[in-house]
Symmetry: C4
Subunit: 368 residues, 4 copies
């Protein structure tokens, strides 16, 4: 804790860019690294979740991501549940470069209501492809669509907002009681973002299978500008991982997965997230660079189309290769945006680790 | 305290960019947030004061800002009290891009004397519109024009300079005795800038209703270049808030409002100012971006037209929307320059707060 | 040690850019400075080793570097041992500007197998020129080509990889046992990179004559992006120098040379490397700027042509003068890229030192 | 002291950009500020010395600077003592933009020998104008020309090099014994640069009237690149000021002036130098911006024309006004490059000080 001024103290916190992983005295062979990620009843070939953002996950790419061995999550308040066929809207948006015009158009397009029958149809489409099914809702609309989602049959129910707390207080409406909701639900819930020990601990007590750490990928910096709110990811994960450990003891053995969600633009960031204590990482930006991503080189999250207070902007990225190449290579760039799985494998092997759980203990350093 | 060298020690201080606000384990609904700001006999709908700068406040925009629910302050040594109708001068200035030519022209235009009768007329114009009336003078000229201002009937008398102290020492002239002056005056006084615990405490003892923390908005960096003087805002506010608390005790209950004045270019900065202990914020840059701002896309403060030692420059900003849109949205940018009131509301709700006074205690972190 | 978050602590580490050397109260004359570097049976006129990178070392430049008084190392897995005459390939690569096209072409060109007879021929060519002979292999292929190298007759056998550990664990293949290998070998071995006290100590115990500190020059930043792994050089060297001292005691007097390998783009960095405890420095970037460097203004390391996960890119540099001018001047630039030997001499003299070993104790400061 | 690595510790140091001056609770009127600087037998109207650099000081500008009330120092190894009339050379250099061509041409032009009779003539020219006379030599050539300088009749003899120590050790030549030299000389000596407590203390013991703190203005960053040597100015001055205090005691009352020499590009830096403990400041960059400066918009120091290892480059600056305007205004820029004297006066008054000696105690803060 340091002193900001005579009446205020503060902790010093760190983001991924502030830290680096240090090799041990041992090295391993990358092919010996085991990346299997098991959560609830399911196992995945790598600990990466594709973020529920329209520029990244469509029913088609969610299926593709599942076939590659991961968990893709569809945003159930996105274009695919507002429109029967949003393809032309994606094309239209891709042709708008001016950020203010883009924001206005996003605000208009997303004003179209979400339709329950489309939620059911999209979930069915993914399930029919034989891959794990997951959809996300904001906490504000979870109550409204939860039963439709549950009935549609999902493997994971994701509740994702800028900040989600176990204790939302409101006067004008009855807020979502997360604990009762999750208890009543028949499918495992992943919920977040959160960014502190206390907030995470309370979310863990709701019975969630996993908590998302962060405020949503690309919007981090904008949230800082607009709201003044930010918790850099390295510190946030290390705090939430402590909550996981303490809750494990308190609950007599319930292991809640810590899923980093934000600032994961490079494969090195994914390795750092695990090194800080994450069990898995929800990625978006690297996937937005795939040639088959719905965003067609553009990337945006739900905060970009808020009707009165957008807190993110569409970002433009070069497309570097197919989704499969982004995940498994071969990489033709050296900036950490391709072969995410190979890079994580190599990072762990270089530092002498073969298990993700062990790699959470690897030494890190701070480099200002 | 750290050591600069063997003969010098220094405190480490922080600006808004160095800190971020951390959510608690609770969230609230933005519409439940109460932003009412009461100072002296008046109440405002939000704790924002429009800065007395010619590029931001004209009689017309002061009235508009008042009608929106805030307190607009007119600079009584600006163009509106030097010229019967400065409209063409604003247009002329807006057409000059070269900074040196602009500085020369500003120096020439502001060489015209301030006229007492114009001070009276401008104040009357605002009063007649039925909104709170406030005008500002520099400490150097307060004595000269104070009785005119008082007679004109204002709700707040603002004394604003780069650095205003309760104890100005001069040999060639009799300096303004702030304590006697404020005691004799019939209207509440807001005075500053100040930036340290001691300076603020002494200003509070003069009987001021509020103190301004800072050295004036956009000029901060330039003041550092020219004078070497700077106190980053987060630390300055946290120090002055400590003076408020200690003076409250010392005075047996007089609560002097701490008003952040500087480096508030983004809505997130306003939230941070309160998080550091401010009761309200004096804003300028975001207002200069309004299409109806007098500066026509340019922004400057009094330090820009100093005849021999200008310590600020005009700055160019994109115009993003009407003054009402800047204050209440809908925002079409995601950079914290629109919907200032909505952003503050959202920031507090996200962190679980509904009262400004409570939000002064929200946790902040330092992120280098 | 500082706290990243509740479950993670970290050391704060420093790179060359974070530190500076401080003069003492004494100054010396540059011509009095003794730069002789003796390792194993050989002595060199300055403590600089030319890095085994194709853009820097060809048989011709290795010879030239040796004649100038230093030790040039040829990469035995580079183009010169894959192709009878790679001259046209260098020309072709120099004509490709697009980084992705360059990476694809590098991946294709380096897919050609390494040929034992070319290793033997290249080593002979250098030996016949009467200069010290050194070749490098990656740890993965050391076993395969070691006997050819040994038979070819080298003065130093360099084993160089991103991270080389004394304890490589693998399930699918029998890993290289460095200790047995080095014991069996008849020539002195220089091995690395390593970046921590523990890793270095274990490498020293293998019997190596020298250890390389770092992860390979220009690739440092990229490795951070791709793998999240980095140890800034100033701290890494200071840690490894502590291992040298402790191993000296543990071994009863075996002095293992610490050779900085990475982030040495400017002559000032070389001085800093020694100031942190290095005995010598392996340089590449400044040599890539020579008009007679094989890279023709381009510079790349082995990590740039990895078939699936490249972790470096070719970098473009202005050519500033001949290899001799780069080493001895006269310099016509003031950025630390020319007259490396003269600059080191001047740096030591300015600080009052004439011996490299003493200069390891010069005072340094941290300047964020 | 912090730990770089296991075998190396370091102090954390600060430059002018890292610190800022904090106002006290008192303010003063600028016209009450007393800037008089008395050293040895002379008094100046402000504590600023013009640096002995060819781009800044010619006989004509040294006279002009003296008439304005300051001390101008002519470089006695510059173009004015190598050439009868260097005017055309200045014009020729001003026309060369390419840095490498400029360095080559500087190296050639400065190869012309320094002539004793020109030293005498230049000093006489300045003396005849009725202003204080000062000339500088490098320590390497002080012995050679000292008697000529002394005979020419100067008020101050300046010995200035990148690093000047009281204890220079050399084998091939008899080094200058500063103590004996200064004792024998009939005029007061100002000597430097130095940057540490120990080095400064030893220079003070030689009998110097003043010590220069720094490594020479614009070359600081380049010296870091080339030699790895740097001591940021705020810390250096605070250390040397401690040596002044301790030497004052040790010598029983001899007050040696501490003159900041480097990184003083803005008026705010001059204020900071005094705030850190300097008695006066040697300025160059702001003077190079005068329309009547010899450099014609270019600025360079002796390190730029070193024949084999240049450690500085010519820098290009916009010309902003006459030398008088640079010193006294009116300023038309707000970046601290004009009205240096007015800015220092304003800075001290804003913080409540009227005496330079007292201003050395003003509070400063560190702002990373």
């Amino acid at each position: 804790m340091i002193e900001i001024g005579r009446s205020k103290r503060a902790a010093v916190v760190y983001g991924f860019d502030d830290i680096a992983i240090v090799p041990t005295r041992r090295t391993r062979t990358p092919s010996d690294v085991n990346l299997t990620w098991s959560i609830d009843a399911l196992s995945f070939e790598f600990p990466l979740v594709a973020a529920p953002m329209d520029s990244v996950m469509s029913p088609a790419t969610a299926i593709e991501f599942g076939k590659l061995g991961g968990l893709g999550v569809l945003n159930l308040e996105g274009l695919w549940t507002r429109y029967e066929d949003p393809t032309e809207l994606f094309a239209e948006l891709a042709a708008i470069s001016d950020p203010i015009k883009a924001t206005r158009r996003l605000q208009a397009i997303y004003a179209e209501p979400v339709k329950g029958e489309l939620i059911a149809a999209r979930m069915k489409e993914i399930r029919d492809a034989g891959v794990p099914v997951a959809g996300s809702l904001s906490p504000q609309r979870t109550r409204e669509f939860a039963s439709i989602v549950e009935k549609a049959g999902v493997d994971f129910f994701v509740i994702r907002g800028t900040t989600v707390s176990a204790e939302h207080v409101a006067t004008s409406e009855e807020p979502l009681n997360l604990k009762e909701f999750i208890y009543a639900l028949d499918v495992p819930v992943i919920v977040g973002g959160c960014a502190t020990y206390q907030a995470a601990l309370h979310l863990m007590r709701t019975g969630a299978a996993g908590v998302l750490v962060g405020f949503g990928g690309g919007a981090t910096k904008k949230t800082r500008n607009v709201l003044g709110v930010e918790v850099p990811m390295a510190s946030a994960i290390a705090d939430v991982a402590a909550a996981r450990r303490d809750y494990l003891d308190e609950s007599g053995g319930r292991y809640v997965h810590v899923i980093a969600d934000g600032a994961l633009g490079k494969s090195g960031d994914i390795a750092k997230a695990i090194a800080c204590g994450a069990d898995a990482a929800m990625v978006s930006t690297p996937l937005a660079r795939a040639t088959d991503a719905p965003g067609r080189g553009w990337h945006w999250g739900p905060e970009a189309w808020h009707p009165r207070l957008p807190r993110g902007e569409r970002a433009r990225f070069d497309q570097v290769g197919t989704l499969e190449e982004v995940m498994f290579g071969p990489a033709v760039t050296a900036d950490g945006t391709m072969n995410l799985v190979g890079a994580l494998r190599k990072s762990m092997a270089t530092c002498g680790y073969t298990e993700v759980k062990d790699f959470q203990r690897v030494e890190v350093v701070v480099h200002n």
